[in-house]
């Protein structure tokens, strides 16, 4: 598994989360920059799903396969689900849902790194 990609995903997801917090505090709805940034993250996560499965098949490491793929799939689902749910609520709290989604992505990356044996 690409550790660099994982850290990039953590960085971007936390940036998107921080931006969503700014929107939340300013009482704004989900806007275009948030949507585009989130889309970039979604594409990265799709790539990570494919690359992660390939890496899992090739590695000699002792990795819990089911859990590992489970985290990869959940990470792919979190951004679209949170943005759809966030946009559906026409209040600042819709952006709050996106914050939860992004923090979830970051947490999943930490778990993935731990499963891969390079985490904390």
């Amino acid at each position: 598994m690409s550790v660099t990609l994982s850290y990039a995903v953590i960085g971007l997801s936390l940036l998107v989360a921080a931006y969503a917090v700014v929107l939340l505090v300013r009482d704004r709805l989900v806007d275009n920059p948030l949507f585009y940034a989130h889309s970039v993250l979604a594409v990265l996560l799709l790539g990570q799903l494919v690359a992660g499965c390939v890496a899992l098949a090739r590695t000699g490491r002792d990795v819990e396969g089911i859990t590992f793929v489970g985290y990869l799939v959940t990470a792919v689902l979190a951004p679209p689900v949170s943005i759809v749910w966030g946009v559906a609520d026409k209040s600042r709290w819709g952006t709050g849902v996106v914050v939860i989604g992004m923090v979830t992505v970051a947490a999943l990356q930490l778990r993935l790194l731990a499963l891969w044996g390079v985490g904390f």
Binding site: W93, G94, V97, V99
Partner: protein, 143 residues
Amino acid sequence: MSHLAEQSRSTSSGAGRVLIAVYAVLALSATGRSVVQLVTKGGQAPVAYSLSAVAALIYIVATVGLARSTPGSRRVAWVAITAELVGVVAVGLLSVLDVTLFPDASVWSDFGQGYGYVPLVLPVLGIAWLARTRPRAQRPPGT
């Protein structure tokens, strides 16, 4: 927070949506974890793993109960969230007092430490939210 006061009294709109999102994440992770535990090593720590499965089920019920936001689902959510609070406090105490009872971590052991204490905080927020969004007609006199 005038913003909150303007919200409709549905459990699934406004701040409730964020609460449900957190519930959904916890329900998902607890379900995933308990399924993997039961399938791959069910015999090793049956108490902890069965408990994870029960906890997962309660989180799913609470999530759906809050999200549907009908009078019936509110009652279901009340019961599920209360069970959650009792569960996390009871299991938390037991896991601290008798380490051998839960050799492998469940969602609720050590008061949900493995999940950043979210399992301990969430039912409190859930009950507060249910109380806040309570339909006025159903409030007992004097409140």
